[in-house]
C-alpha cells in the first residue's frame, strides 16, 4: 500500500473525530441534550466552550448530540440509496431489454426534478419522522447511484468471466452478487463517500428549512435554525454547527478523493 497523502490523512483524522464524537456522545458531552445550563446566548467560557444557545443550553453538548443525529441519518440514507440504487442498477445492466428501459427512463424522470424540490413536495404530505426522512432522501439519492452502478455493471457485464458464469448456467442473482458486485466494489466505495456528503448536506438543509429532524431532536441544520436569529445581534452561535457540516463534508471529500485516485491507479496497473 502506498503512503497516505497528507490531505487524505487530515481528512481521515477529522472524519474519525466526528464519528468518534457521535459514538461517544453520552460520555463526552459535558451537558445533556436538552439541559438548560446557562443564560441565553452566553459567550464562550470555561464552562461552555462554545457558549450557550437561544434558550441557554450548552452549545458544544448540543453539537455533539446533534452530530450523532446528522451522521446517523446521513449514513442510513446512504445505505438505503446504495441498497436500492446498486441492486436496480445491476439488475438493469444484467437484464437489458425492457427492464433496463423502464428503470432507466423512470430514473431520468425522477432526476428531471431537482432533489430538494422533490423532497419538499413529498414531505408536504408525509409525516416528517426519521424513518420517512431516511427513506425519502435515500430513494431520491438512489437515482444517482443507479446511474453509476448501471454504467459500471455494463462494463463488467461484457467480460469473459461473466459470460462463462452464464454459460455454466448461473442465475441472475449469482451473476449480480458473485460476479459483478465484487468487481464493482472499488468505484462504488469512493462514490459512497461522495453520496454520504450529499446526504449530510441534504439533511442539514432540510432541517435548516424546518422540514427535516423535528424538535425536541436536533441535528446540525436544526441547531443552525434555532440560533439563526442571533446572527443579527452579532451572536455567532449558528455558525458553529454550519462550520461542522462543512468540516465533515470537506474531510470526507478528501478521503473519497484519495480512494478514487488509489483505485483508479490500481486499475491502470491491471491494464
Amino acid at each position: 500500500m502506498s503512503r497516505i497523502p497528507l490531505s487524505a490523512l487530515i481528512g481521515l483524522v477529522i472524519t474519525a473525530a466526528f464519528f468518534g464524537a457521535a459514538l461517544l456522545a453520552p460520555w463526552i458531552a459535558p451537558y445533556g441534550m436538552a439541559e438548560v445550563a446557562g443564560g441565553v446566548w452566553d459567550p464562550s467560557s470555561p464552562e461552555h466552550w462554545l457558549g450557550t444557545d437561544s434558550i441557554g443550553r450548552d452549545l458544544l453538548s448540543r453539537m455533539i448530540w446533534g452530530g450523532r443525529i446528522t451522521i446517523f441519518v446521513a449514513l442510513a440514507a446512504t445505505l438505503v440509496a446504495f441498497a436500492t440504487g446498486v441492486f436496480l442498477g445491476f439488475l438493469a445492466a444484467v437484464s437489458g431489454g425492457w427492464v433496463d428501459q423502464a428503470l432507466s427512463r423512470l430514473v431520468d424522470l425522477l432526476m428531471s426534478i431537482p432533489a430538494l424540490i422533490m423532497a419538499l413536495v413529498i414531505l408536504s404530505v408525509m409525516p416528517v419522522t426519521l424513518p420517512v426522512l431516511i427513506a425519502v432522501m435515500g430513494l431520491i439519492e438512489a437515482t444517482r447511484v443507479f446511474r453509476l452502478s448501471r454504467a459500471v455493471a455494463a462494463d463488467i457485464e461484457v467480460m469473459d468471466y461473466v459470460e462463462a458464469a452464464r454459460l455454466r448456467g448461473e442465475g441472475m442473482v449469482w451473476v449480480i452478487f458473485r460476479e459483478i458486485l465484487p468487481n464493482a466494489l472499488s468505484p462504488l466505495v469512493a462514490e459512497a463517500g461522495l453520496r454520504f456528503i450529499f446526504m449530510v448536506l441534504f439533511i442539514s438543509t432540510l432541517s435548516f428549512l424546518g422540514l427535516g429532524v423535528q424538535p425536541p431532536l436536533a441535528d446540525w441544520g436544526g441547531i443552525v435554525r434555532e440560533n439563526k436569529d442571533g446572527i443579527v445581534y452579532g451572536v455567532p452561535a449558528a455558525l458553529f454547527p454550519a462550520v461542522a457540516v462543512a468540516a465533515l463534508a470537506i474531510s470526507v471529500n478528501l478521503v473519497a478523493d484519495w480512494i478514487l485516485t488509489r483505485t483508479s491507479s490500481l486499475k491502470g496497473g491491471r491494464g
Binding site: 424522470l109 424540490i117 413536495v121 404530505v125 442539514s204 428549512l209 452579532g234
Partner: protein, 320 residues
C-alpha cells in the same frame, strides 16, 4: 436538406422536454396525492372530526378519481389557474407572479455576475495551468463545493451585515424601491449564490478547454507562433462552447434550487420562501404549483443546454 436534419433534432429535443415536463407534472401530482399519508388528515391533524374531514376532502376534490383530479389540475394550470391556497384562500397564481419575478431577479443577477466571472477565471486557470493562480482557483473551488449554502449565507451576513454594516442583513424588496436600492438589498444573497456556483462552472470550463488544447490544430497554432492567450481565446474556446454552455445551464438550474435556501436565509420574498412556508403548513395546492414551476424552469434550462450543444456542433450542422 442539411437544415432539415438540424431542425429535426431540435424539434425532437423540444418534444422530449415537453414530454418530460408532462411526466414530471404527473410525478408531482402522484407525490402529493397518492402517498400513504392522507392529505385531509395531515392538514387537519389527528383530532379532526369525520365531518370536517369529509368536507375538506370534497373541497379538495379528493372524492373524485385520481386521474380526473390530475387532468383538472393540469388543465387549469396550463390556463394559468393554479387554484387557491388552503391556508389563506388566496389565489396562488397572483401570489406567485410577484414572487417569481423576485426570484428571477435574484437568480438572474447572480447568473449575470457568475457566468462571465467563471469563464474569465477558467480561461485564466488554463493560461497559468499548473502554476499558483491555477492551484489557488482549484483549492477555493474544492472548499466552496463542500460548504452548505446556509453557512456561506450566515458567514456573509455575520461579516458584512453585522460586523461591518455594509449591506442589510434582511433582503426585503418591494415595488417602491429604485433599482439601485434593490441591488443594494440583494447584494448579500447574490454574493452567496455566485460563490455557490462559481467553483463548479470554473472547474468545468477549465477542463473543457484543456480537453480541446490537446488537439492537433492547437499544436499547429502554437507552431505558427501565436500568443498563448490568442490560441486559447480564438482556437480553443469556440470548440469548447458546447460543454461550457452545458455546465453553465446545469449551474443555472442549480441556482434555481439553491435559491430556496438562500431566500430563507435572507428572508427574501421569492418563490423558495413561499414554497418552504407552505410545505410546513402542508398547503398541497401551493406546493404542487411551486413544484411544477421549479420543475419547468429546471427542465427548460436543461433543454436549452442540449439545444445549444446541438446547434454549436458543426458535425450535426453539416451531416454527411
Amino acid at each position: 436538406m442539411q437544415n432539415g436534419f438540424l431542425l429535426k433534432l431540435v424539434v425532437q429535443r423540444i418534444a422530449l422536454g415537453c414530454l418530460l415536463l408532462l411526466a414530471a407534472s404527473g410525478l408531482i401530482f402522484v407525490g402529493t396525492q397518492m402517498l400513504p399519508g392522507d392529505v385531509a388528515q395531515s392538514i387537519l391533524g389527528q383530532s379532526a372530526t369525520p365531518q370536517a374531514l369529509a368536507n375538506l376532502r370534497a373541497e379538495l376534490g379528493l372524492d373524485q378519481p385520481p386521474l380526473t383530479r390530475y387532468l383538472d389540475w393540469l388543465g387549469n394550470a396550463l390556463q394559468g389557474d393554479l387554484g387557491h391556497a388552503l391556508s389563506n384562500g388566496q389565489d396562488i397564481a397572483s401570489s406567485i407572479a410577484g414572487r417569481l419575478g423576485n426570484t428571477l431577479f435574484l437568480a438572474g443577477t447572480a447568473a449575470a455576475i457568475a457566468v462571465p466571472l467563471a469563464l474569465a477565471l477558467g480561461l485564466l486557470a488554463v493560461r497559468f495551468q499548473g502554476r499558483w493562480p491555477d492551484r489557488l482557483i482549484s483549492g477555493v473551488t474544492l472548499a466552496t463545493i463542500s460548504v452548505p449554502e446556509f453557512l456561506l449565507g450566515y458567514l456573509a451576513m455575520f461579516a458584512l451585515a453585522v460586523q461591518f454594516r455594509v449591506f442589510p442583513s434582511v433582503s426585503s424588496i418591494h415595488d417602491g424601491m429604485s433599482l439601485g436600492q434593490q441591488f443594494q438589498a440583494i447584494a448579500l444573497p447574490v454574493l452567496v449564490m455566485v460563490l455557490v456556483v462559481l467553483g463548479h462552472m470554473m472547474r468545468m470550463t477549465r477542463a473543457a478547454i484543456l480537453n480541446v488544447m490537446q488537439s492537433a490544430y492547437i499544436e499547429t497554432a502554437e507552431l505558427k507562433g501565436l500568443r498563448r492567450f490568442t490560441i486559447i481565446a480564438r482556437h480553443a474556446l469556440p470548440n469548447a462552447v458546447a460543454p461550457i454552455v452545458n455546465v453553465i445551464m446545469l449551474n443555472l438550474a442549480y441556482l434555481v434550487v439553491g435559491v430556496v435556501v438562500v431566500e430563507v436565509v435572507f428572508v427574501y420574498p421569492g418563490m423558495g420562501q413561499y414554497l418552504v412556508d407552505h410545505v410546513a403548513k402542508r398547503d398541497v395546492p401551493v406546493v404542487q404549483a411551486c413544484g411544477l414551476i421549479f420543475a419547468a424552469v429546471y427542465i427548460g434550462l436543461n433543454m436549452i443546454a442540449d439545444l445549444v450543444a446541438i446547434l454549436a456542433n458543426p458535425r450535426l450542422r453539416h451531416p454527411r
